[in-house]
């Protein structure tokens, strides 16, 4: 059984109470969470150090403006956190950060991770249209009942990994009918347990209801199958791939927002992959015409190949694609296959070695 803390407030308010408690009592020096920043309702992540500013925090707001893993890497790349901080993030962000730490792109040290059973986030497009507010009551109703939330990111609709693996504290949201009145926080680690000492709330023992979680998982799985069919991913041969990526405008924003694409300079932006006039003219002589946006499929395939073991299917790539390419579905298909082959789930366990750096003398003998 896990220790549980109940606070007599709605999930968001209860969580804010915890955050305020942590800052007020000097348990952490800063808190990274979503916060209302723009007058017209723009929401961004923020490093909050003043307890009074917790009021403007919206830790459970269903939007992922950026994948926080990438930002945590930025915060802890040069040096690990020198003072304790708490971070509120989604399970896919937490998993991606664990992957980045395995890739020496950040450090877990001094960070308290607070995550939740995640109902998903709305597409960035909805933030652009400015109408997430109108959907919030529908969102929380569906979450409390453990139903799929309509209109959330397709990647979220298809997500089976909505429970955090390595969070110190988990906020129970999915299928929790009391989220409007009471906040349930599972204290998964010793760190989680000790840091809340002194907070006013009810302590008990409990666990997430595995049957309910399984039910949600099967709903998501069914949704994933349906959505994969809609984007015609079943038989993704070279012809379909060529057509799907023919819309690509070569901006590579998918890689820029991807938490796992951490390379300082992407191979496709190096001198090595630039073509000179000799290349274009040779192609022209051979084929009579050349698509000047060369190597797009090459780029996408290599990117898929590079990120597939660590991809946590956050869907950020698809959300920022100016050409609406269903990148979430393509990445997910690739990631699932590769992760299954290596029996590896990214971000599940910090101790588990990356498949790409783990040498197994006898592996995939069938294809060697």
């Amino acid at each position: 059984m896990t220790k549980a803390l109940r606070i007599n407030k709605s999930a968001e308010e209860g969580l804010k109470e915890l955050l305020r408690f942590l800052l007020d009592n000097g348990k952490v020096k800063g808190i990274v969470t979503l916060r209302k920043t723009g007058k017209d309702g723009a929401v961004s992540y923020s490093l909050i150090t003043n307890p009074d500013d917790i009021e403007s925090a919206v830790p459970l707001f269903p939007l992922m403006p950026v994948n926080l893993a990438k930002q945590l890497s930025r915060l802890t790349l040069i040096e690990a956190a020198t003072e304790p901080i708490a971070v509120v993030l989604r399970p896919c962000e937490l998993r991606a950060f664990v992957e980045l730490v395995k890739r020496t792109q950040g450090s877990l040290k001094n960070i308290l991770f607070i995550s939740s059973t995640c109902g998903g986030v709305y597409p960035l497009e909805m933030a652009v249209e400015g109408n997430i507010g109108e959907h919030l009551s529908e969102y929380w109703k569906a979450i409390g009942q453990g139903e799929l939330v309509p209109n959330i990111r397709l990647a979220c609709q298809a997500c089976e990994y909505f429970m955090p693996y390595t969070a110190d504290i988990t906020v129970s949201l999915l299928s929790n009918k009391g989220i409007e009145e009471e906040t349930t926080l599972f204290l998964n680690t010793g760190k989680g347990e000790s840091i809340v000492e002194g907070i006013s709330g009810k302590f008990s023992e409990g666990d997430l209801n595995t049957t309910t979680m399984e039910q949600i998982r099967s709903k998501r799985k069914a949704e994933k199958e349906k959505l994969s069919d809609e984007v015609e991913l079943r038989n993704l041969g070279i012809d379909e791939i060529t057509k799907t990526f023919s819309r690509c405008i070569g901006c590579r924003n998918c890689s820029k927002v991807c938490p796992v694409c951490y390379c300082h300079v992407c191979f496709f932006e190096t001198e090595t992959s630039q073509h000179g006039p000799v290349y274009y003219e040779r192609e022209l002589d051979e084929k009579g015409c050349v698509n000047m946006l060369s190597d797009t499929i090459f780029y996408h395939l290599v990117r898929l190949f590079h990120v597939s073991t660590s991809c946590t299917a956050c869907g950020q790539c698809a959300d920022v694609c100016p050409a609406n390419i269903p990148l979430w579905a393509i990445s997910l298909k690739m990631a699932e296959a590769v992760q299954k082959a290596f029996d590896y789930l990214p971000g599940k366990d910090i101790e588990e070695g990356l498949p790409i750096t783990t040498f197994v003398p006898e592996e995939f003998a069938g294809i060697v």
């Binding site: 020096k29 800063g30 916060r35 920043t37 723009g38 007058k39 017209d40 723009a42 961004s44 992540y45 923020s46 490093l47 150090t49 003043n50 009074d52 500013d53 403006p65 950026v66 930002q71 930025r74 915060l75 802890t76 040069i78 040096e79 020198t82 003072e83 960035l124 933030a127 652009v128 060529t242 057509k243 799907t244 023919s246 819309r247 405008i249 070569g250 901006c251 924003n253 820029k256 927002v257 932006e269 630039q274 073509h275 000179g276 006039p277 000799v278 274009y280 003219e281 022209l284 002589d285 009579g288 015409c289 050349v290 698509n291 000047m292 946006l293 920022v320 100016p322 050409a323 609406n324």
Partner: protein, 386 residues
Amino acid sequence: MVNTKQGATYSAEEGVNEGILSFAREALSKECFDAVLMTAKMPKNDSFAHVLIADETLLGDACPLCPVMPIQGARVISSLTRYGKGKKKIGVLVRPCEARATIELAKLGQLDLENITIITMDCPGMIPLSDYFEDAEKGDKVFEDAFQNWNSEPMRPVCRICYKFSSAGAEDLHIGIMGAKGGSILLIPHSPKGEDVLNKMGLSLEEDVNDWEASVNKLTEERKQKRNQSNEVLRSDIEGIDRLLETFSACINCHNCMRVCPICYCRQCHFDSDNMKFSFDDYLTRAEARGGLTIPTDTLLFHIGRMLHMSLSCVSCGMCEDACPMAIPVAQVFTLVGDRNQEAFDYVPGRSVDEPLPLKTFEEEEFLEVEQSYTGVSARQENQND
């Protein structure tokens, strides 16, 4: 700017696009170029890309007047010639803003124009990429209808206020569409290269271009007014640090505006470099000093830095806005700032390849009113004392 008074009429009975394609086909067969570069429809029929075509029989899917800007043409010309000119002579068919960006990149040493013949056309504008990718078939139709009567309403916001939609002046050959006689287009040369094309094609300069000129000038004036009005409205929305912060508050710091920008050619942007990575203590100190630190950090600094770097060469092509996932009016903001900066230096990007870049031109006495001397006395005052 129209600086030629004569052109050649070219038949376009099956429509402007077909007319331009016939011209390209004939130019290839008469060896005016070894290849042409223009936009073409991709196999799935829902997107466009720039294609270099040498075989005239492959011009079938080409679509010089395409409804969207998938990539800024200047970037494409830069990819082609950044590492030096090739052996082949290439005619590039681009929009006026792409031609102007091409001229800027030539001055910035990012492409080689020697074997390139720049051909522009009167531009009806382009529809936003997001509209097109939502429904390509509808996008094609909306564009076609708008093109028929030069209606800019469905076009991108910066296309609606563009008054440089026609000849840029620095291109080799311009294709006049507005006010051309029914079923024809006008070929107006602006350089010896352009004249050479017409000579090889056996076309002589007989047609006066007054009608075209009059139509262009009329719309230019209308658009100039519209642009001034639009700039004024935007200015009251964004002026001052608070409003500017608010304008960019939704920015997710993806830098896509920079990556699709034809002028932002740096291989490694300062804002992506190690110079912009700080230690944890730095971030925490900044947060403590202000009570909070928005993450990603330094988003407004990035936009202001980019503005400072490229606004003198900004051609208001709108690509940045098309590529912004948060639909921030980047291109409109940069148009406003660009217009004012360019005016201050009396500089028009893309006007002439011989016009030096203001940043490379040292004037001993310039902007004295903003200069500050070490003694605390302004340079202007010092001058007065002399």
